[in-house]
């Protein structure tokens, strides 16, 4: 946003309220958290971080969390691209319906959607009984408390976050680009890979950031569908805070989560500032 002038004191009435709110409700708690994370019985130290890094279990939880985020990003992309293409090719009426259907799940609470997935993923659930009925499996399949089940549920829950930025980009895209590619001899696949996907890319990258952040930190879904068997960082922090009352360590783990997801998100947004992607979204 280069249109916005650098904040000067003259503009204080405009950015003042936002600045106050940010400092009070975002920056201050973060500083408190940081101070907590460095506190230990021996005074300020990196002990909490050292404990995390030296604990094999903690590190594996961190890796699982990042991998979960990555898997959900991949899953939502595979599900989302065909829907985005449908949106591109649809007429105005179908487009309206598509947007309505994409937004519909967002009107239901995350908790309710998670519980709905229990009904689908369980031993007597929709997937298991369908597999039994069609004879594809002779024993009931339980997807609850499995990573695959969790990824499946999160893909559905996070899908709107991926689709909305892509749709915003597609609605503004120049339709003649596809006509131009076809006139230059490109078949459908070439049009898709060399024109449509690059046009969608800025929206796709924005969606990836949202989905990754949301999937890594979706405490309720991770806890309910992952259960006690699959532990991710949000539950790990909750356990330290609520069960073990080890607040300084929990604060350190929270910072590890913040920094590690932050690094992934910053690298995606660095990609979207690439010279070829700037300005056409």
């Amino acid at each position: 946003m280069n249109a916005l002038a650098a904040p000067s004191l003259r503009n204080l009435p405009y950015f003042g309220p936002m600045l106050t709110a940010s400092v009070l409700f975002f920056l201050a708690p973060l500083v408190v958290l940081a101070v907590y994370s460095f506190s230990s019985p021996e005074g300020a130290s990196l002990a909490n971080y050292a404990r995390f890094a030296n604990d094999e279990f903690s590190v594996s939880v961190l890796i699982d969390t990042i991998r979960l985020g990555g898997s959900v990003v991949l899953g939502t992309t595979l599900l989302g691209l065909p829907i985005a293409l449908l949106y591109w090719h649809a007429g105005p009426r179908i487009r309206q319906w598509l947007i309505f259907l994409i937004l519909l799940p967002m009107l239901v609470s995350n908790v309710v959607r998670t519980f709905a997935w229990i009904v689908i993923l369980g031993r007597q659930g929709l997937i298991s009984s369908t597999l039994l009925y069609t004879g594809l499996s002779s024993t009931p399949t339980n997807l609850m408390y499995t990573e695959f089940g969790l990824i499946l549920a999160l893909c559905q829950i996070e899908l709107p976050l991926l689709l909305l930025p892509i749709i915003a980009v597609l609605s503004r895209a120049n339709r003649s680009l596809v006509d131009a590619a076809r006139m230059l001899g490109a078949g459908s696949w070439r049009v898709l890979l060399t024109v449509l996907v690059p046009v969608m890319l800025p929206g796709l990258l924005a969606g990836w950031i949202l989905v990754f952040a949301s999937a890594c930190t979706s405490y309720v879904t991770q806890a309910v569908i992952g259960g006690a068997r699959l532990i991710y960082l949000p539950q790990f922090i909750y356990r330290e805070v609520g069960v073990l009352f080890s607040w300084p360590y929990a604060a350190a783990v929270a910072f590890v989560l913040l920094v590690s997801t932050g690094v992934v998100m910053l690298s995606i947004s660095a990609l979207s500032r690439h010279r070829r992607l700037v300005g056409h979204a």
Binding site: N174, A180, R182, R276, G279, H280
Partner: protein, 375 residues
């Protein structure tokens, strides 16, 4: 321009385009109604008409981007109907240029070459040639958004020409450019078209642009071809009131054919005066007719005489060497007259009454509302 370069770029000669009885409708609304015309090989023809007259639909049908309901499009006697648009090898320049925003200028120009499987080495040589042709050699690694409007337009032309198309379609290619740049690029396009010998069809709503670039014009109105001809033919011998008023300015006077014979036509003007034209009467006596004349075919004078129309001078504009006068006849009909500024002119105070002499040889007569032609 470097002649050697032309020889390289010119590989495929232009082919003759023939559109026969083309009809198309969107949601029961007729966009094209029985359109036929020819573009001889190597010629540049302009499709001219007001917006919404079907010219863009016609262009898309030729490109293969839409499938017309009925009719035939042939390129050198090959029916294009079964050929999908990506195999037609027709170059097209879009109104928005439709340059791929994430590709550099060179990559944009090379796009069609890659589609058609041109080897890499040949490709880069060809891209270089084309950029030279449109004078953008130094801009190959820029992105489209880093170029000015005129440069973007030239990239679009180079990209369309890359695959040696046998036909070049241009959809309002100068629409987004300012006047001075437009004139410059029009001249450049003509020069390039002539040196490459490529058959070119350009769509425009601007009659001046059409006259500048094209040898022949196809004038369209409401989905139909109104008239086909050279710019002179359309200007001097319009076949309809629409053609007459669309090309240049024409003043319109509604009058009545009151008499005449094989040699002359007598008209009664709104102010009850009578005008005799030296042409056979083509109407039944008493029918409503429309008399039109160009500003340059009306002469103004200070004194009344038989056959001269009194009119009040409303406004006077200097257009270079000419004076354009806006006048109003006694019944309120607005008319325009033009005079050379070198000529001896009466004093031109606004509001005074002048007398107009219409050139009866050069004026046009069309049937008015409810008129019946006797021939």
């Amino acid at each position: 321009m470097d002649m050697n370069l032309n020889a390289h770029v010119r590989a495929a000669q232009g082919k003759a385009l023939s559109v026969r009885r083309l009809t198309h409708s969107y949601d029961q609304k007729i966009a094209l109604g029985d359109v036929s015309f020819e573009v001889p090989a190597g010629e540049i023809v302009a499709l001219l008409g007001p917006s919404g007259c079907g010219k863009s639909t016609l262009l898309k049908s030729i490109a293969g981007l839409i499938r017309p309901s009925r009719g035939e499009i042939r390129l050198d006697d090959v029916d294009l109907a079964p050929i999908p648009c990506q195999s037609r090898r027709i170059g097209m320049v879009f109104q928005s240029y439709a340059l791929f925003p994430h590709m550099t200028v060179s990559e944009n120009v090379a796009y069609g070459l890659v589609s058609h499987g041109t080897p890499r080495a040949e490709r880069s040589a060809r891209v270089e040639q084309l950029l030279k042709l449109v004078r953008l050699e130094a801009y190959g690694s820029r992105l489209p958004r880093e170029l000015s409007g005129g440069q973007q337009q030239r990239v679009a032309v180079a990209r369309a020409l890359a695959v040696n198309p046998s036909l070049l379609l241009l959809d309002e290619p100068f629409g987004a450019l300012d006047r001075a740049l437009r004139a410059e690029l029009q001249v450049e396009l003509i020069r390039m078209q002539q040196s490459l010998g490529i058959t070119t069809l350009i769509v425009t709503h601007d009659q001046e642009e059409a006259q500048t670039v094209a040898d022949r014009l196809v004038l369209m109105n409401e989905g139909c071809v109104e008239q086909v001809g050279t710019p002179e033919e359309l200007y001097d011998h319009p076949v309809s009131l629409f053609a007459n008023t669309f090309m240049g300015h024409a003043s319109i006077i509604h009058c009545e054919a009151v008499g005449g014979d094989d040699t002359h036509t007598v008209l009664q003007l709104p102010d009850q005066s009578v005008l005799t034209l030296p042409r056979p009467l083509g109407f039944l006596a008493g029918s409503k007719v429309v008399l039109t004349f160009r500003p340059e075919d009306a002469e103004v004078s200070e004194s009344a005489a038989p056959g001269l129309l009194p009119a009040r001078l409303l406004h006077c504009t200097t257009l270079g060497a000419h004076l354009q006068m806006d006048l109003q006849l006694q019944d309120g009909t607005p008319v325009k007259a033009q005079a050379s500024r070198r000529a001896r002119l009466p004093s031109l105070e606004t509001g005074r009454t002048l007398f107009i002499q219409i050139d009866v040889q050069r004026c046009h007569l069309f049937p008015g509302a409810g008129a019946t032609s006797s021939t």
